[in-house]
Symmetry: C2
Subunit: 113 residues, 2 copies
């Protein structure tokens, strides 16, 4: 899992915080991987960063060119089916926040130790 | 670690993705906890969600009323010292994205299983 290579701002970020009902996450993770394969083929998708903590709060942030790109992804049939299954089976709770990135910067250590 | 209780949008999100150089994170985590104690006392701080993955990509998202609140936090002396130490000792790399949350929604399963 690596950083997303996003363009110069502005662009959109979908901040997704969630808790899973179960720690048996193999099928959830396989579905998440499959969905990312589909998203990567979409125009206006800039990548996703994921930090999944077993038994705890998980965060993923996906990056998008604009609201139209998010809408196409939201209406994707496989994604829609997975969201419905997620509510029935996988998610204890989640929070979604759609935000417009206004500035960004980074740091890379000179030597990797 | 729980969800942040944020007000109605708009508000700001600071998306912080990072990798640590070491898996010996006790001192890093103690510092992060101490900084959150300070942040919670600041006007305009709405909370932080954190997902730290040992040896992997970590994500935290903190929520703020406006740029002035972020600036006060950025200029806090203890926070500034911790950021400098982080670059010297703790972070292999990081990415910061400051974004304006435009809409949010959530889900809570009816029964906790």
């Amino acid at each position: 899992m690596s950083y997303s290579e996003t363009p110069e701002p502005p662009y959109l970020a979908v901040i997704f915080g969630f808790r899973l009902r179960t720690t048996d996450t193999a099928e959830y993770l396989a579905t998440a991987d499959r969905l990312m394969e589909i998203a990567r083929q979409l125009d206006g998708f800039y990548g996703e960063e994921a930090a999944r903590v077993e038994g705890g709060l998980c965060l993923t942030v996906s990056y998008w060119r604009d609201e139209d790109a998010i809408r196409v992804w939201r209406e994707n049939l496989e994604h829609t089916a997975a969201r419905q299954r997620g509510k029935r089976e996988w998610y204890e709770s989640f929070r979604v926040r759609v935000a417009r990135v206004e500035r960004d910067y980074g740091f890379q250590a000179a030597t990797s130790e």
